[in-house]
């Protein structure tokens, strides 16, 4: 256990400002539209330097309150130590030195390292809990994971937001990819859902061809030209998971009917009421016995070797193989690792798709609902509100 001095303990108490929520973090009024002035960029850096440790330390506290036997598990212990290392590294960076761009660049590099270190948290945690399933009840595990994963969304957002602002404000060598003009940090103020759906469909379609030898069709209707401000990687993650379910169900039911994605935009200013996306498939629906499990973090399956709950129509695209040297990374996992989409790779096939998608959707006040007509098909309703609108 790393020795942590008094200053660290002081950080564990939340400060009122930090609790105001991350929605304001991504608003243009917080730090302005990129490219930021040096002053604004430094403000963002200082803000991140101050509040990221708070979030990290809360995760550490949650982890260290888990039973000893759980955190002793090598996988979970790895994650735990990652958090400790990251916190130590940030704290070692003197806050007072963030007065010029050189220091700020160093800080951003540090953030980038941290983000990279933690990118595989979820599958490793999952493996760890899987191995510990005899020592913790499914409810406890679900509760912990749910809370942890949701908090993680915010923590990563905070770091990535600053990284994005930095990349857009400080000239970069041509090899580094820089956010587009419509971006504020991680938010694309002119995100077109239809584009995301098309690219995810092509990506998931590729996976299906690889695995099943066939690719279902997808049609988009409703209002395909609408744009709204949102975080593209979040939407990509959600849509990919939903399409995985829809495509797999369609293929396994041998249904020729295409998957239909309907995009609806609430009337009024384009960002006011939000966007609703409906993914409709005719893949046979979800069995009533499975319906109560679709939002759980796959825990009820940790008794047997294959993770399919009930029949093959449980909606998960892949099954986890218990044990083995690979520890659960299957064809799906390996393929999507290389595609590089945010976290899609890591979570493939673990049955985390729906609960994680819902966590992402709900993070900014949206919702995800699943309605199944068993033996016919499933409709999924994703409702999202535009992000970062206050003070525009």
């Amino acid at each position: 256990m790393v020795g942590l001095g008094v200053p660290w303990r002081g950080i564990l108490h939340p400060r009122p400002v930090e609790l105001k929520g991350l929605d304001s973090l991504v608003s243009p009024s917080s730090f302005g539209r990129p490219p930021l002035t040096t002053q604004s960029l430094l403000t963002s850096a200082r803000f991140t330097r101050e509040y990221l440790p708070v979030r990290l330390s809360r995760r550490i506290r949650a982890l260290r309150n888990l039973p000893y036997i759980i955190v002793s598990n090598p996988n979970i212990s790895t994650i735990y130590n990652n958090y400790i290392d990251s916190l130590t590294a940030i704290l070692a960076f003197p806050a007072g030195s963030l007065t010029n761009l050189t220091e700020e660049s160093k800080f951003t590099e540090l953030l980038t390292e941290i983000v990279k270190t933690h990118s595989n948290t979820i599958p490793i945690l999952a493996k760890g809990f899987l191995e510990c399933r005899g020592y913790v009840t499914p409810e406890e595990a679900t509760k912990f994971l749910d809370h942890h994963l949701r908090a993680r969304i915010g923590t990563r957002l905070m770091a990535e937001q600053h990284i994005g602002l930095h990349l857009a404000s400080v000239p970069q060598p041509p090899t580094v990819s820089v956010p587009g003009k419509s971006y504020i940090g991680t938010v694309d103020t002119e995100l077109r859902p239809a584009e995301i759906i098309e690219s995810c469909a092509s990506f998931v379609g590729d996976i299906c061809e690889l695995r099943y030898g066939t690719r279902p069709k997808l049609t988009i209707d409703g209002n395909p030209d609408i744009t709204f401000p949102y975080i593209p990687v979040h939407l990509e993650y959600i849509i990919t998971e939903l399409l995985k379910n829809a495509f797999r169900a369609t293929i396994e039911a041998n249904s020729p009917v295409p998957v239909i994605a309907t995009i609806a935009a609430a009337p009024g200013p384009p960002d006011a009421g939000g966007i609703t996306i409906r993914i409709r498939d005719q893949g046979g629906g979800i069995a009533p016995d499975d319906l109560c499990h679709i939002w759980s973090y796959s825990f009820s399956t940790f008794n047997g070797s294959r993770s399919s709950i009930g029949s093959g129509n449980s909606g998960r695209l892949e099954d986890v193989d218990d044990g083995g040297a690979d520890g659960g990374v299957d064809v799906m996992g390996r393929f999507t690792e290389s595609a590089g989409a945010l976290e899609t790779s890591s979570i493939a096939g673990l049955g985390y798709g729906l609960p994680m998608s819902r966590a992402y959707a709900q993070y900014f006040g949206g919702s995800l609902k699943v309605q199944s007509a068993y033996e016919w098909g499933t409709d999924v309703y994703l409702r999202l509100k535009g992000v970062g609108l206050d003070g525009v």
């Binding site: 609430a266 609703t276 409709d379």
Partner: protein
């Protein structure tokens, strides 16, 4: 004091529509009672409202000994499942069964009504003295008193007399649903909405249960008395119905009929030249199942009504043909599923909050005004023939639902969805709605295939 002012200001708003709605037949003797109350009300409003005038519309509740009611409230209701209903009236319908059925109804009705009367008595005084809710209360009490006094039925003659009493009561109670709805709307600022909604759900569920057993008994008596009834025969026609239950309700036919009817009403209401959306049905079209047709027709009717009107309203600017309303029918071992999808623009988030509530939140006044325009309560035979099956038995039986189903689709009462949900959930089903704000709405109706072992009638708090 402020409550009285609020109530009287609402009365002011409704006063003008009150007079006109009273000239429409509010069933039977109730018109007389209301008329006698109206004149002091309008007098009070047109002159200055002060205490003296208010006293003329004071509510003087009839005092009744509560001991009798207590003894009934203490007994639990005896629930019955539809499976039992179906099997009871199926084959071998003989005199003994009819008499058993009569006595079951004779004892159950006052028992179940007693529970509801007690529920009402526990509501705040100011709520029960609302003129609409007070009407319902008096109706219920009258029914309770009359039914509990009926002696045991021992012969077919006794049964005939009993059936007459039941028929009269069913007729008289036709106004209960609109009265309850209007009463709840008027009281929505006096009691928290969730309490009102809970009250409405309980009372409506119980009402369904009482009418089902009453109407079922009447229908069984009819079958028994009908000249075509041969207890041992295996002929087809009469046995498709067991009382009110249609054993082979065909989902597609119901939807087509209701669809046709609702489209006609829409055409009338919106003008014959304005475009009307098409209704397309897809899915497992051969699905049949035992059900009570009037319930299903009501629910589907409400959903189609909403979809049709929303589609017309949303596309009123465009001259192109309207997008169709698509209905999917499918079934599992235990359920029939209807999915009604429209492109009527969806439901704004602000309205979603009050969608399932009878109390309707801040827009209650709009719905109240529409209530006064519900078409004449006394249904004519023509109206009935528009909605009823082509089955002789049912044409003679007016149902409270048929009056509501024959109103034009642009007359928004705000009750369709919560009422439909009560009916859907009554037979262990469900009703879910998903809105794509800016595009359209999907509604999922899941109906239990009745006769399942696992289905139970939901009854008074059981």
């Amino acid at each position: 004091m402020s409550t009285i002012l609020q109530v009287s200001s609402r009365m002011r708003q409704c006063a003008s529509s009150l007079e006109s709605s009273l000239t429409q037949a509010v069933v039977g003797s109730h018109a007389k009672i209301l008329r006698s109350q109206v004149i002091p009300i309008t007098a009070a409003i047109t002159t200055k409202i002060n205490a003296r005038h208010l006293s003329s519309i004071q509510h003087n509740p009839r005092w009744r000994a509560s001991g009798v009611l207590d003894s009934y409230v203490a007994q639990p209701a005896r629930p019955i499942s539809l499976r039992q209903l179906v099997f009871f009236g199926g084959r071998n319908l003989d005199e003994k069964k009819i008499i058993d059925s009569a006595n079951y109804v004779r004892t159950e009705l006052p028992l179940r009504i007693a529970h509801r009367i007690r529920d009402m008595q526990k509501l705040p005084y100011v709520v029960v003295t609302n003129r609409h809710l007070s009407e319902v209360y008096e109706l219920y009490y009258k029914a309770f008193e009359s039914f509990r006094r009926i002696p045991e039925i021992k012969s077919l003659e006794d049964n005939e007399k009993f059936c007459e009493i039941v028929k009269t009561a069913l007729q008289e109670h036709l106004t209960v649903i609109p009265s309850l709805a209007m009463g709840v709307l008027e009281c929505n600022d006096l009691v928290p909405s969730h309490e009102l909604d809970r009250f409405m759900n309980v009372i409506l569920r119980s009402r369904i249960s009482r009418r089902v057993i009453a109407e079922q008994h009447l229908a069984l008596t009819d079958t028994f008395n009908s000249p075509f009834h041969f207890p041992d025969s295996v002929s087809n026609q009469p046995h498709d119905f067991v009382g009110e239950v249609f054993l082979r309700c065909n989902a597609r036919e119901v939807v087509e009929q209701v669809g046709k009817h609702t489209l006609e009403l829409a055409r009338e209401a919106n003008g014959s030249t304005s475009p009307i959306p098409e209704i397309q049905i897809e899915g497992r079209l051969d699905t049949t199942f035992p059900y009570i047709p009037s319930h299903l027709e009501y629910i589907i009717g409400e959903l189609l009504r909403n979809s049709i009107q929303a589609t017309i309203d949303h596309h009123s600017q465009s001259s192109t043909s309207l997008p169709p309303i698509k209905i999917l029918i499918c079934h599992t071992k235990q359920h029939i599923i209807f999915r009604v999808s429209d492109q009527g623009g969806g439901i704004p988030i602000a309205e979603l909050a009050h969608l399932w509530s009878f109390a309707k939140g801040p827009r209650a006044i709009n719905y109240l005004q529409n209530f006064s325009q519900v078409p004449k309560m006394a249904a004519t035979l023509q109206e009935l023939q528009k909605t009823a099956h082509t089955h002789s038995r049912r044409e003679s039986m007016d149902t409270s639902l048929s009056r509501l189903t024959s109103r034009p689709p642009n007359l928004r009462l705000g009750m369709g969805l919560p009422m439909s949900r009560v009916y859907a959930e009554y037979w262990a089903g469900s009703l879910e709605l998903h809105s794509l704000d800016g595009y359209g709405t999907d509604v999922f109706l899941q109906v239990s295939k009745l006769g399942n072992k696992c289905e139970q009638l939901n009854l008074d708090g059981v």
